[in-house]
């Protein structure tokens, strides 16, 4: 659940984005710029949080009126093993070191629904966070590290699968299915695509993050639409976007079928007038942007 320090939205003075060149970071930077909010985008090229001395260098950048958004992480496509885990923890430790020296106005940590075990099929903020792997454990640990490191109000946003034209991670979701369809003229699913998952458009992630910043919210919120769909259904929706017939092919199942649904009542309560982009519309938008970029 979230509580708001600002009942009415107030633009932050400046937003420092760590991991600004990533998929979500780039979108958030654009949104901030369009809203006329000062932003300091920080990428690994500007400051590698996984290096010694990063905490001091980051502290030197921060000011007390800043809202800090932590997006920097090695994503699952870089591996879910021990080394990425340790690197990610090092990054968080650098952030925490900086927060120990400078207390900003707010910290927003973009986490992941991987903190919840996959056996939990209906997830809410009250669900027990018991990660199944090191990637999920990394996010849970980083949540705790950030909350412990600062007196600033902290919002933890646990996002479901994010999609959009600029996603380069190629994880199993709308982006990959779209690229598959274009490249191969077919979509290959795990099993018959029975698993259900919730997919959120990157624009909605950015919009919700903006609301959290403007309301200076504290607490934990799952970023999900509340409407999960099977991969089989998703493939059909992707297929209709192309102007050629696309085969949808199942494969023999290697892993058990799992499902993930979200109870998004907390979003309705925190931001009652927020509406998600319907999946059909989001897929069409992402597809159109993908085509425009070639």
């Amino acid at each position: 659940m979230l509580n708001h320090l600002n009942e009415k939205p107030v633009n932050p003075t400046r937003v420092v984005l760590l991991g600004a060149r990533g998929f979500i970071g780039r979108t958030l930077v654009s949104v901030l710029q369009r809203a006329g909010i000062a932003a300091l985008p920080v990428s690994s090229a500007d400051l590698n949080l996984a290096t010694d001395g990063a905490a001091d260098r980051l502290a030197a950048m921060l000011q007390h009126h800043d809202a800090v958004v932590m997006l920097a992480a090695l994503t699952p496509d870089k591996g879910r093993g021990l080394q990425p885990f340790l690197t990610n923890i090092h990054m968080a430790a650098s952030l925490c070191g900086a927060l120990g020296k400078v207390t900003p106005a707010q910290v927003v940590y973009l986490s992941s629904d991987s903190v919840y075990p996959i056996a939990t099929s209906l997830v809410s903020e009250a669900s027990c966070a018991e990660p199944d792997d090191l990637y999920g454990m990394m996010h849970l640990a980083r949540e705790m590290m950030v909350k412990s490191a600062t007196k600033a109000p902290v919002a933890v946003l646990r996002s479901t699968l994010v999609y959009g034209a600029e996603d380069t991670h190629n994880s199993y979701g709308p982006n990959r299915l779209c690229r598959m369809a274009h490249k191969d003229g077919k979509i290959t699913l795990f099993g018959e695509g029975e698993e259900t998952r919730d997919h959120i458009l990157v624009d909605d992630v950015a919009a919700l993050t903006m609301l959290v910043l403007r309301h200076c919210s504290i607490g934990t919120l799952n970023l999900a639409t509340g409407r999960s769909i099977s991969y089989a259904e998703l493939a059909k929706k992707v297929a209709v976007l192309l102007d050629k017939p696309i085969d949808i092919i199942g494969t023999s199942r290697q892993t058990p079928i799992t499902h993930r649904h979200f109870d998004v009542t907390a979003i309705h309560k925190a931001f009652p007038t927020f509406n998600f982009t319907p999946l059909d519309k989001g897929l069409a938008k992402a597809h159109a942007e993908m085509l425009r970029r070639g």
Binding site: S124, G226, I229, H268, P272, N275, F276, P278, D280
Partner: protein, 435 residues
């Protein structure tokens, strides 16, 4: 034996109804409360609670009542019930300080041989801690149901009585009083009786949670819980009176208190209360059904929707709004204009920046894009679907308690949403916010 005189200390919902039943059964009844305002009202026949049949019952037996704020007036009572409310906080934790203070006050004024009976919801172990000779101290389980209090008080199914010594018969005055009601009397040790009350509520919650869990599944898989429940009730192991109606989670305060007590005792004594916590989680989840339905079916497509809300009380036939699902919903609808109506609870009970109180249910539906029936008052069943369709601007009727006939609502051109069955849509209607 001369008929015993019965006293009740605490003119609460429980106390008034219990006293009314005692007087109706022919007993001189002394009603005590420290609040002079309550006593003055009762003396003049004014009730601040709503219970079907209560005013008539009090009127029929009025010559047997004495209302007082003087403890000394309880001195000639043979049996005195402590019927005060035990307040709870948001976590369901009881504050026993008030009842302890009342017991001390009353005990000082009791007749030498008078019996004291604790009738309040107290945690196991409470009665034994009281400093009164145990042969004069009893605990009796109350089974008050708001909206059915008179029936429950006049015709109890049984009396569950907590005693210090089971080998001793009940004192003559107490036994004579209870026997008048013609139902079984089950003596047991104090702790068993105190836990029996909680156990009853746990069984009810378990049953309702089964209904809620499976009703939610029905809504997704195309089943209809109202077709299933009668079949269950014909199973002798479940029974015709089983609580199988799906609802919007626990409300009223008493069930929540008992679940919190079980969890607290389980934590303290190292027993497993996981299932109790699951019931509480399910209750929270189910409570927001109307909010989720409104967002999914109405507000996503119509951000400026006007919402009609029928019912503010936590259940029908009561004035109580404690833990009311309706008020909980309204608290989440601040950005929207509301039109509200309750037959008993005034619109002033609603904390909302733009809520219009309406004199009737139909007036609340006037111009509404969605109508949400949050308390199943019997009067709402008289609403005609075609009148609603003509009055409303939109066409979503959200009726968790199935007050209206869903088929008639759909035939009138409205979409109908209730617990335990997938949405029923009028001809030509589509899902409000597509995937």
């Amino acid at each position: 034996m001369i008929r015993p005189v019965i006293g009740f200390a605490g003119m609460t919902h429980l106390g008034i109804n219990s006293a009314a039943a005692a007087a109706a059964r022919g007993f001189e009844t002394v009603c005590f409360d420290t609040d002079a305002g309550i006593i003055t009202k009762l003396k003049s026949g004014k009730l601040s609670i709503v219970e079907p049949g209560l005013p008539e019952l009090l009127e029929r037996s009025k010559q047997r009542f004495a209302f007082t704020t003087e403890v000394i007036d309880l001195k000639h009572c043979d049996v005195v019930y402590i019927s005060a409310d035990v307040p709870t906080d948001d976590q369901g934790q009881s504050d026993l300080s008030g009842i302890r203070a009342l017991i001390d006050t009353i005990t000082a004024g009791l007749g030498r041989d008078a019996i004291l009976v604790i009738l309040c919801q107290v945690p196991p172990g409470f009665t034994r801690t009281l400093a009164l000779p145990k042969e004069r101290l009893y605990y009796q389980v109350e089974t008050l149901i708001f909206g059915r209090a008179v029936e429950r008080a006049m015709h109890p199914e049984r009396f569950i009585v907590g005693c210090a010594a089971l080998e001793r018969p009940l004192p003559p005055a107490y036994g004579a009083f209870l026997s008048t009601f013609g139902c079984p009397i089950l003596p047991m040790r104090y702790e068993s009786a105190e836990l029996a009350k909680i156990s009853i509520n746990c069984c009810l919650v378990a049953s309702v949670t089964v209904a809620n869990t499976l009703a939610e599944l029905c809504e997704r898989i195309g089943a209809d819980w109202s077709e299933i429940a009668p079949a269950l009730k014909l199973d002798k192991r479940i029974g015709p009176h089983a609580y199988l109606g799906p609802g919007l989670g626990l409300a009223g305060g008493n069930l929540e208190r008992d679940l919190a007590t079980v969890c607290r005792l389980a934590d303290a004594y190292g027993t497993d209360a996981g299932v109790v916590r699951a019931w509480m989680t399910n209750s929270s989840h189910r409570r927001d059904w109307a909010l989720r339905t409104l967002h999914g079916e109405v507000l996503a497509a119509n951000p400026k929707a006007v919402i009609g809300v029928l019912g503010l009380a936590y259940k029908e036939n009561t004035h109580s709004t404690k833990n009311s699902p309706s008020l909980a919903l309204i608290a989440q609808l601040k950005p929207w204009r509301l039109r509200v109506h309750d037959p008993v609870v005034p619109a002033s009970a609603v904390a909302h920046p733009d809520a219009t109180g309406c004199a009737s249910a139909l007036e609340a539906a006037q111009g509404a894009d969605a109508l949400v029936i949050m308390t199943p008052w019997p009067a709402f069943r008289d609403l005609k679907a075609d009148q609603l369709a003509r009055s409303m601007a939109g066409r979503a009727v959200i009726d968790p308690y199935h007050v209206l006939d869903g088929k008639a609502v759909v035939a009138a051109g409205l979409d109908y949403f209730t617990l335990g069955v997938p949405p029923l849509r009028a001809a030509g209607s589509t899902c409000a916010s597509p995937q």
